[in-house]
Symmetry: C2
Subunit: 165 residues, 2 copies
């Protein structure tokens, strides 16, 4: 009994999930501490003890997460030349690419009442706050969820609905 016949969009979803970049990405940063470590790194935390004191994370968990994020290419692990006991964890280009994700989450939390932050991210040049991150069309128009559809690589639309009502 192929259950797929009665559920075309589920089988489309499963097929799309096979090549979706989200599951592997979630494997790397989709857990509580990874996100907070990332936020710390974006805010200038660099040493093991800084992360530990700044986040209040257990040392063994921090050690494990830093190792995984280094293995995943998000962080870089270097010896501090000024003190050979110290290790500097810095963001790689790949790790910096997560800025949009972290900022989008931050703005979402801000908008939906999970606490208004005391500091705001601003343009270093003129000090004006950054824009709210949004999904944009090719010409820059902001797009809502209803304005979107999924298309195949060649441009044909697919069976995947976008949260259709």
């Amino acid at each position: 009994m192929p259950a797929d016949q009665s559920t075309p969009h589920i089988s489309a979803f499963r097929k799309a999930a096979l090549t979706c970049p989200i599951p592997p990405a979630v494997e790397l940063i989709g857990e509580k501490w990874a996100f907070l470590i990332l936020r710390g790194a974006l805010n200038g935390l660099r040493h093991f003890e800084e992360f530990q004191a700044g986040l209040g994370i257990a040392r063994n968990i921090l050690s494990d997460r830093l190792g995984k994020m280094v293995a995943g290419g998000i962080l870089q692990r270097d010896a501090d030349p000024s003190d050979r006991r110290k290790v500097v964890y810095s963001l790689t280009a790949k790790g910096e690419g997560l800025l949009t994700v972290v900022l989008a989450l931050r703005q979402w939390g801000e908008e939906w009442g999970h606490g208004a932050p005391g500091v705001i991210l601003a343009d270093g040049r003129d000090g004006r706050p950054v824009r709210k991150i949004c999904v944009q069309a090719h010409d820059g128009r902001p797009l809502r969820l209803h304005d979107l559809k999924w298309v195949d690589r060649d441009g044909a639309s697919t069976a995947l609905p976008t949260a259709a009502e």
Copy 2:
């Protein structure tokens, strides 16, 4: 003895963390399955069995996560009028707001080699792919991490570095 004297940016970080929207947001969606459930919801999954079959998640975990996301105001839980056994989980406006986060993560994964997706999100009007999400200045200029700084609510810059080298 205040250890803060030797670590000014850590104490600035801890102070900023108190009102940061990220930790509560992470509490809600910062775990493996919450992200994937959200992706499913954005792709049109609506019923318990659809999520279960589509994601391969254990039923008790799914039940727990759906409940938490409903409690957090991300999902809405309604009875299906056409079949009173069924329950429809749909995104609230708050949940739809997470589209930017999920899409940013997806684009990041795509860019950094975690699998190229077979389907692409496009503008429903003209079928052209959406832009890459990025941080923008007030005038729309794209900004990198080095171009940014933190400012206080009143516009004064703070002690928080932005991943300074």
